[in-house]
């Protein structure tokens, strides 16, 4: 059946209803710890207190890519396995991913002003992140522009997969082009070069933001499932009325055949 195979999503709803409070609690606790640690982290000898922006910037930057990755996997689910939850997952992730990308851009440029003396620079990494943001917006526009979720899902899936080419470009842009933005220092071959006093709060914040994403994503997926349920009920209502209505459609001279249909 089309009106979404309800069995699976129903189990999903039940499961997430139990899971969500725990996730939310874990997120809040980790966020609190992370915030406390970043508040008490020492100033950097070069960057001064502005290094505190890192604890927001880097997790958001990572998530901006991570979310697109999640959407790409979901897109494969839509196109290849036609899994009913896959396009729900992809659609629900887009606005959240766009928000994280926006935050990465914003905090990055707020950090860039004291560090580089400018808010914005056309450097390969910054630009590829901006492109990522634009593609998030394009994707959301696409979801909005099409009133039929299944049709939008397939188009969005193709676009998401094509856009995934951008991820390695973002990741490696700093290595390929010599640019302003600093190269990877946390996740790189041969261990992190970051001081522990920054690394620990950064990792805690990163985990906290990832949990935040998981929580928000599950909640948004629930909403999306409900929205589709509402839609299919409305559709059903419309077609039911249609059945009640056959035969009254034409006033004048309905034939005997026609009366039989109602």
């Amino acid at each position: 059946m089309t009106l979404i195979d309800l069995a699976n999503p129903t189990r999903f709803l039940a499961l997430t209803a139990r899971l969500l409070p725990w996730l939310a609690a874990a997120t809040i606790i980790l966020l609190a710890i992370g915030l406390y640690q970043s508040a008490t982290a020492p100033d950097d000898y070069q960057q001064g207190a502005t290094v505190k922006i890192m604890f927001i910037h880097v997790p958001n930057a990572w998530l901006s890519m991570f979310v697109w990755g999640v959407m790409s996997i979901a897109s494969l689910g839509t196109l290849v396995w036609r899994h009913p939850l896959a396009d729900v997952a992809a659609k629900a992730a887009a606005p959240i991913g766009a928000s994280f990308t926006f935050l990465a851009l914003l905090t990055g440029s707020l950090w860039g002003r004291p560090m580089w003396g400018t808010y914005w620079e056309w450097d390969a990494r910054l630009t590829s992140v901006l492109i990522l943001f634009l593609m998030y917006l394009g994707l959301m526009a696409l979801w909005r522009a099409v009133d039929e979720p299944s049709r939008a899902a397939r188009a969005a899936a193709v676009l998401t997969l094509v856009g995934a080419i951008n991820l390695p470009i973002i990741k490696f842009s700093v290595d390929w082009w010599n640019t302003l933005h600093q190269p990877a220092s946390v996740m790189r071959m041969g261990g992190s070069s970051l001081d522990r006093s920054f690394l620990i709060p950064l990792l805690v914040m990163a985990v906290a933001f990832t949990l935040l994403f998981v929580t928000l994503h599950l909640a948004a997926m629930r909403n999306e499932i409900l929205r589709r349920r509402v839609r299919s009920l409305q559709m059903m209502q419309a077609s039911r009325v249609a059945f009640a209505e056959v035969g009254t459609g034409s006033r004048e001279g309905s034939t005997s055949k026609e009366a039989g249909a109602a």
Binding site: L6, A39, D43, G48, A49, T50, K52, I53, I56, H57, N60, P95, I96, S99, F102, L103, L106, T107, L110, W111, R113, P114, L212, L216, A219, A220, R222, N223, L226, R227, R229, V230, S232, L233, Q234, M236, Q237, R240, V241, F243, A244
Partner: protein, 61 residues
């Protein structure tokens, strides 16, 4: 404890505030969306459309 944030305090505070704001907006959107969807679902179910009722329901709304 009062933190000294140096000459760029406003940048740091703005970053954190913006992050908080965006997250709050996201949460707000999700909560409101949830409310309106459950509400509409309930209304529809009250008006007699249920997921498995199909054509058997007779009266028009």
């Amino acid at each position: 404890m009062i933190m000294s944030l140096g000459p760029y305090a406003s940048f740091i505070v703005t970053s954190y505030a913006a992050a908080a704001l965006v997250v709050v907006i996201l949460i707000g959107w999700i909560v409101l969306d949830h409310r309106s969807q459950t509400q509409r679902l309930r209304e529809l179910e009250r008006s007699g459309v249920t997921r498995r009722s199909g054509r058997s329901a007779t009266d028009r709304p």
